[in-house]
Symmetry: C2
Subunit: 343 residues, 2 copies
DNA sequence: AAAAAAAATACAATCGATTGTATTTTATTT
DNA sequence: AAATAAAATACAATCGATTGTATTTTTTTT
């Protein structure tokens, strides 16, 4: 039941523990024959290196911290899958934590990860996170930091992997315009979050490019939950006032709006065209299927983790801050066009 | 940049590191005034306990290992969310790994987690996992093990949190029968996995109860991916032979079958009724919405983690093996009944 | 075969916190 | 005020692996 140590292996063979340690680390300071004897005995005793001891001595935890708002959200769980995949390949473990969109909890988690001396941190900040002092603390202690999807600008970091939210907002809106929409509402999220500001900026730019005047009351801020979309749509129903398109900063709110429209007997896209953001799995199967922007979570996770591991391997000097901008892909579906007749 | 240690705090105050350690652990062997001085200095120096050192000395990693087939699968990501929530509350970290349904990788992960001396392990085994020798290794080393959803029977463990798959299979099938189905096909998964054997047994039991003869070729084994469902349905289309219902052991295969049926111009549930298993988010929004069995991932994760932490707190003697069986809830939707007219 | 060089192994300190025991300081009792 | 008890603190070993240096053994050179 008890785990064997290098000292026991050494004792069995009449060697010193340092030699055993070196043998197991394949150092060339140990004679091949001795190495073999040591390996054999280690196997016999069912020896397993104690990482707690090894990490302490090496001052390296071989562990990365990952913080996301909510593990169960599809985008984040795929990002985590990508991170885990790259980390595993690189010999790193990942400690995964969820902030549940609360800044307090995010702080507490970071503190805990720092106590655990993680070798690096990957984070997508909570909605509530307004400033980055708790993140700056990491940088100060030399823990490299990589943001993905949601970042806090002006925090020293190794880099960020983002999607080009401006482009996304622009593409979405221009797509609606090209489908003939003239009066387009935009559902946006918490305005202190860069991603929503940028999506909104893209929306405005597209309107401007096509000579459609911007109307302040056409931009509506909310928590972007399904219920928010439903509620906002319902409030507007009476005074639609010629509105013929909605660009929602995420799919959930768009889906909520769609439900409301269906219930009110309106048809999508004929009465009103809809574009979401994120390509949630649901969006593909709903009818009409939802046009949206794909934000490959797996790819973002992989890239973010690559960035972090490269930095760690390079010896930890923050020299350049890299920002990878993924271009979101417009997935055209039925919510913005007449459905293809299904044979 | 460098982290302070208790020795530095001790030096600053002219105390001994052991006193500092005790003060920070709130031991009553340190005078309150001294404790306060120590806490103040610790805060000033930005001291953060080094968990690697602490864990080594205490022989406790304060970390749980979690292994799932695929982090991005909805059910698993919600289960992980539940686990993380409970673990966080109990002061534990979680290391999350994905087996990607491969036994090899599962073995490798377990080895790694054992090197990290995790205090416990939560696992949902891969499809490929045929036997549990790698899991038995944990038990031998005294690492408590809890299975959730997919287990390997006959492996010593603290317990399992399962859904009652037999009941689920039974309910699903009986529901189809009550809707008038007489000839019901069952899509099942890898037969070495208990969950699929049990769902199938429930299917048979329901048939028997209602006097419907069991037909061996009505049970079809596959990987239960969307494509499998699509393919199996397509192969059958020509020779449907009076088949009027399908109970699929997961939602994906059911969704694949549904697509095939739609393409073939058949209507669900009139031509053929469908029941899935797991209540994937997709199933609610597809049209017709899919009747399925809900298997609350969040709840399973929470219960599994509770079970593990209780065991650890109780001092680690495996005395009783607890099996929690959650009763899956039948979610009746349109794929087994005429759609409610939408006002 | 002695001397020098190289290889293999042993020794001991170290990572930072914890903890049983010993010592010193303070408080209490007579 | 001396003796005793109790409280506070210091000392030192420990967790298990790593690693710079010292020592021993083997090999090579002259």
């Amino acid at each position: 039941m008890e785990e064997a140590t290098i000292h026991e292996i050494a004792q069995v063979l009449g060697l010193h523990s340092s030699t055993v340690s070196r043998a197991l680390n394949d150092s060339n300071r140990v004679k091949p024959v001795t190495k073999e004897r040591i390996r054999k005995t280690a196997a016999e005793l069912g020896y397993r290196r104690n990482r707690m001891a090894s990490n302490l001595r090496r001052k390296k935890s071989n562990t990365l911290g990952v913080i996301v708002p909510r593990i169960s959200r599809h985008f984040f769980s795929t990002a985590i899958a990508g991170i885990e995949e790259v980390a595993f390949r690189g010999g790193y473990n990942v400690m995964i934590c969820q902030s549940l969109e609360k800044q307090d909890r995010e702080k507490q988690i970071i503190d805990n990860l720092m106590e655990n001396r993680v070798d690096g941190l990957l984070i997508s900040v909570s909605m509530q996170t307004m400033e980055g002092s708790h993140l700056a603390a990491c940088a100060e202690k030399g823990i490299p930091l990589v943001f993905f999807d949601r970042r806090i600008a002006d925090v020293a970091c190794v880099g960020s992997v983002l999607i080009d939210d401006f482009q996304g907002g622009f593409k979405a809106t221009e797509h609606l315009i090209k489908r003939g929409c003239k009066r387009i509402i935009h559902f946006t999220g918490a305005s202190h979050l860069e991603i929503y500001r940028k999506r909104c900026a893209g929306y405005k730019a597209a309107l401007e490019k096509h000579g459609i005047p911007f109307q302040g009351d056409f931009v509506v801020e909310s928590g972007l939950m399904k219920e928010d979309g439903y509620r906002l749509m319902r409030e507007r129903l009476g005074v639609l006032d010629g509105v013929d398109g909605i660009f929602s900063a995420n799919d959930f709110a768009a889906l909520g709006a769609m439900r409301c429209l269906k219930e009110a007997g309106k048809t999508v896209p004929n009465d009103l065209a809809l574009v979401g953001f994120s390509n949630e799995p649901t969006s593909e199967v709903i009818e009409p299927s939802l046009t949206t922007l794909d934000q490959s979570g797996m790819e973002m996770g992989r890239l973010a983790c690559d960035l972090l591991l490269d930095h760690i391997a390079s010896g930890d000097q923050i020299s350049v801050t890299k920002t990878l901008m993924l271009n979101p892909k417009l997935i055209e579906r039925d919510s913005t066009q007449a459905p293809q007749e299904v044979k």
